[in-house]
Every structure is written in C-alpha cells, then in structure tokens.
C-alpha cells in the first residue's frame, strides 16, 4: 500500500475515533442520538451533550494526541534517542509548576483561564531555562548536553511542584494532582482553536525539517556533510516541538506515554523515514487519544479516570513488546 494511501486510511481512523468518542459517555446516546445532537434536531439535552460537551472534547483529544505524537517523534529524532518523549526536556514539569501554583492560589475556581495561562508561562520558562543551561556549556546545541539540561530542569521543577503541593489544602491538592495526571475535562472551543493553530503551524515547520531529521538521526557529522544546517535545524526543531508540547500540556495536563510509544508503533509497522513518520505519528496519536478518553469516561462512569492513567497502562505492555522486538534484532 502506498504511503499516501496509508495516511488517508489513518485520517479516516481519526474520524472514526472521534465518532466513537461522541457516541459513548456517562449518558447513553445511540448513534441516532449523536446524529440528532449534531444536526440540532430533537432532545435539547442530547444536543447540549453532543455539541457542547463531547464534540469539543473529542476534537481536542485528537489535537492533543496528534501534538504529543508529533512532538515525541521530533524529540526522538532531535535527541537521537528512541526513549525520548516530549516531557524529557522539562516542558511538562514547568507547565505543572505553573498549574499547581495557580490551583493552589485558588484561581482554578470559576474563572477558567488562569490555570492555562499560568501553565503556559511555566512551560515557556522551562524551555528558556533548558536552552540557557545547554548553551552555557557550549555554544552549539549538543545532544548530550541538551538531554542533561532537560534532566536538570525536570528535577528542579519536580522539586518546585513538591514544595507547592506541601502547602496546599486537601481540595486544591487533589485538583493539582489530577491536573498532573492529565485530563480533558475543561475542553472548550477556545482551547480547540488555539491548539489547532499551534499544531498546524508546528506541522508545517516540522514536516519541512523531516528530511534533515532522517539525516541527523543517522549521524550529525554525516548530516552536516550532506548540507544540513544541523545547529539551525536543532534549534528550530527544539523550539517548535517544545512549544507544541507546551500547548498540549496546557490543554490537557501531563498525559504520558503517547509521545513515546506512538512514534515507535509507527516505526515498527511502517519503517522510519520522517517524511512519512511525522504525519503518520500525528494521525495515529490523533486517533488514539479520543479512544483512550472514551475509555476514561466510560470505565468508571459517572466518575472519570484521569487520561494519563489509561495511556500509562496501555504504554507499559506496549513497551514490553518493543523491548523484545528490539533485542531480537542483530545488535548494531
């Protein structure tokens, strides 16, 4: 099957995933209920549930899944490390600090925007901090230094989170921890538009860098010899993927594993050229997350499991699989 056909198939899968996400939930709606709700006929409750609650949430889930997948694939290429995920450079840690502080200060109540803004500020701080630490050591953006800077930043932010949590009351403590576990409860059309814009822009930039990723993944020096401006590509990829991750985390909290195993899945099934891998990862992530969200809403209805719980549980057996397949290959 040609690569183009595969991508079309995956896009279809995204549509199906969104449809499933619309159909299932705490309140039972049949397919006809979903149809009526979307088209605006019939029961106003069904309309309200479908249009106002489930649709923005399903679309946001697809966008977040796509963003995390794309960012994950980029970080793996950028850091030349198959175990990299979008959070390895501390972006989610920074966002979490912002969110936890905002929730603790009691801003999370009725006004909806203070936590996202605070989270984004934290994420931006993390990005700047890592860049600063990494370029302090050397003027070039060396991979190992970048990774270590990310670890330093991540550890620092974790410490800040613990500090912030230790002061909090039970209610805000619970809210903060649930935020960190990830969830799409606060989905609104506003967040949908903003993330769609971010994802669109980032996709264009990163798809353009796809070929250079192939070369850089094969060897920095080799890529340089083939004409790739390695440092520029690195910096651009780092900023783009980090900002994209920040957007996803601000919208949905710290949903783990998606950015790690979706790129691997695509690579296992279809192979690794980034011109195909990047859009494919985006689409697979966009299909996966609405399904995971549906599970989260349905398993313990009417309560909701945090989304990060579902993705983590799916991620672990997946990893066992990947590990076995990797070690069965001839060592490089």
């Amino acid at each position: 099957m040609s690569r183009g056909a595969v991508l079309a198939g995956l896009a279809l899968a995204v549509a199906v995933a969104i449809a499933i996400s619309l159909r299932f939930g705490a309140v039972g709606l049949g397919w006809s209920g979903v149809w009526d709700g979307l088209s605006g006929n019939g029961d106003p409750i069904a309309i309200a549930i479908t249009r106002d609650l489930r649709l923005p949430r399903a679309v946001l889930a697809a966008l977040v899944g796509g963003a995390l997948g794309l960012a994950g694939a980029t970080f793996q290429a950028l850091l030349r490390n198959p175990l990299a995920d979008p959070y390895v450079l501390g972006v989610s840690g920074g966002a979490a600090v912002g969110a936890v502080l905002a929730i603790g200060a009691g801003w999370a109540g009725v006004a909806g925007w203070s936590v996202p803004v605070s989270a984004f500020a934290g994420a931006a701080l993390a990005i700047a901090l890592v860049l600063r630490i990494a370029t302090n050591v050397e003027r070039r953006l060396d991979v190992r230094v970048l990774l270590l800077s990310g670890v330093v930043a991540g550890t620092f932010f974790n410490a800040c989170i613990l500090l912030a949590l230790s002061f909090q009351e039970t209610e805000s403590f619970r809210a903060a921890v649930f935020w960190m576990m990830g969830g799409l409860g606060g989905a609104s059309w506003q967040s949908v538009w903003m993330l769609a814009l971010a994802l669109g822009g980032a996709s264009i930039v990163l798809f353009g860098l796809a070929r250079s990723f192939d070369l850089i993944a094969h060897g920095e020096e080799t890529a340089g010899f083939l004409g790739v401006p390695v440092q520029r590509v690195r910096l651009l990829a780092y900023l783009t993927a980090s900002l994209l991750t920040a957007g996803a985390v601000v919208a949905a909290g710290g949903i783990g594993f998606v950015g790690l195993f979706v790129p691997h899945t695509v690579r296992l099934v279809w192979g690794g050229g980034h011109r195909f891998l990047l859009p494919a990862t985006l689409l697979v992530g966009a299909a996966f997350l609405p399904l995971a969200d549906t599970l989260a809403r349905v398993i313990t209805a009417p309560a909701e499991l945090p989304l990060g719980v579902i993705t983590a549980f799916v991620g672990v057996p997946f990893f066992v699989l990947v590990l076995r397949r990797q070690t069965r290959r001839a060592p490089a």
Binding site: R211, E221, F225, G272, A332
Partner: protein
C-alpha cells in the same frame, strides 16, 4: 595512472587550526593543492592532523589562519548545500539511531539536490540505482544497514557519496577496519571513479596501497606537511622513520602486475638501526 592538473580543485595557503583548549596547533601552516581527477592520499601518524585537515577542506571547521579555495572560490563563500552538491564526504564513523535500509541510506545522498520539500524524481532514482550498482550493493538494497558486514557498510556509504553526483570524493580512513578483499574493493572503486574524472582525496594508514593507487601523497607530521608528491618521492626511509618514529625499509613491489616496482614500506624490528 592519470594525473591531470589542468584544473585545481582545492588550494590552501597557510592553513592553521587549533582546537579550543588544545595546547598545540592541530594544523600548522598547511599549504597544498589537489588537482582534478587526482587520487591524493593523506598519510601520517595518529594525531598528525589528517582528519582535521579534511574537515578544514570541506568547511566543517573554520581555520584560525589561512585560506582555502574550492574550485577557485574561497571556501567561506560556499554554502553547505553547495559544497554537498560538489563534494561527497565519507566520515570515519557513523552511528545510526534508527534502522535504515541500504536504499534509504543511499537515497540520503540526494538531499543536497532535493532540499527539504522536492520529491525525488526519475533523475534521483537513477542516480541512486547507478551508485548502488557501481559499488556493487544493489543486491543489498533492502537489507537493514545494521545487518551488513564492515566491507558492505563502507561500500554502501560510498554509494551514498556517489549518489550526490559530486565532482570530488573525500574519505576519512575508508578502509580502516576492513579485510583484504573489502579494502581492495574500495581502492578499485575509487580508482574507477578517478578514471571517470572524479577527484579523490582520502586519508589512510595503509602506506602500501596508497603507494600503488594514489597519484600523490601528502605526509603530515604534527600538523605540518612533512612531504608531498608522488609516492616514490614521499616514501623515503629517513622521512618515514622520523615521522612515524619506527624504523622502516622501503622495498620495491615484487609484482607480477602493473604494481611491480612501486615503493612498499616494510617495518623493521625495533632494535634495527637505520
């Protein structure tokens, strides 16, 4: 062996480079030239500056002193993509992160011509197939690079450099870890390329094969050009013993074949006086 010096590919004057936080110059006052269609072999002990010189010549590092001209223009005036379209470079090491097939590897060589967005066309596919055939790796096209033997890998990487359709090939110790047959295969391939008019510049530890295949040798010693010229001129016992710090004797290749009489270096027992 042909050696046409009608056209100069590289010319350097007074090149100097010191690595940051190093205590001596890696390259000191290197003035040399490489002509079109030549096979030039860079030889010298470890740390003499061969890899550094190669990097300076392809613009991977900027010299502290001196100038390099590539095809008549200063190297600083060339863009990285421009250089990659004319010069195919094979570095010493490569550590791929993700599995690639040989075809995908060779296809990377088309990047300087395709850039970020252009889709590969018929010309690109032809270049890829041709270079794979020339390096005799077309049967390995769909195999994973990681599963190849040392010799096969070097041939695949050479195919990638050829896929760039460059004017010149620059190789940093391409035969370092190869067995006799694989090593000879590489040298034969390079000779065939030079015969077609491609300039070949490579660094090597194998003085004897360099003597048989290269048009000129450049002997580096502590960053300086200790000797330069055709093999007979460079491979002098006194010079070599000084540079390498080991007693050697230069003998003539016994033949049979066209290499009969070529200077061959033989190492002596450490206690032999020269």
């Amino acid at each position: 062996m042909k050696s046409r010096r009608d056209e100069v590919v590289w010319r350097t004057t007074g090149l100097g480079y010191r690595y940051p936080s190093a205590d001596r110059e890696a390259i000191d006052e290197a003035t040399l030239g490489v002509g079109a269609g030549e096979i030039v072999a860079l030889v010298g002990p470890n740390g003499s500056g061969k890899s550094t010189l190669i990097r300076l010549l392809v613009g991977a590092r900027e010299p502290n002193r001196g100038q390099t001209e590539l095809l008549g223009r200063p190297l600083s005036a060339w863009g990285a993509l421009e250089i990659a379209r004319r010069v195919g470079i094979m570095a010493q090491h490569e550590e791929p992160t993700f599995p690639v097939t040989v075809r995908e590897l060779v296809a990377m060589g088309r990047y300087p011509h395709l850039g970020a967005w252009r889709r590969p066309g018929a010309a690109d596919r032809r270049a890829i197939e041709r270079s794979m055939q020339r390096c005799r790796v077309e049967t390995l096209a769909d195999r994973s690079f990681a599963t190849l033997s040392g010799g096969e890998r070097q041939r695949a990487r050479l195919a990638r450099a050829l896929a760039q359709e460059p004017l010149a090939l620059v190789l940093d110790e391409p035969t370092a870890a190869l067995d006799i047959a694989s090593e000879m295969a590489i040298w034969e391939l390079l000779t065939a390329q030079a015969a077609k008019g491609r300039t070949v510049l490579l660094s090597t530890h194998n003085l004897n094969l360099a003597a048989r295949y290269a048009d000129r040798l450049i002997l580096l010693h502590r960053g300086r050009v200790a000797a330069e010229g055709p093999p007979e001129a460079v491979l002098q016992e006194r010079t070599l013993s000084d540079v390498y710090g080991w007693p050697v004797k230069v003998v003539a290749h016994p033949g049979p074949g066209p290499d009969q009489g070529a200077p061959q270096v033989v190492t002596l027992h450490p206690e032999s006086a020269s």
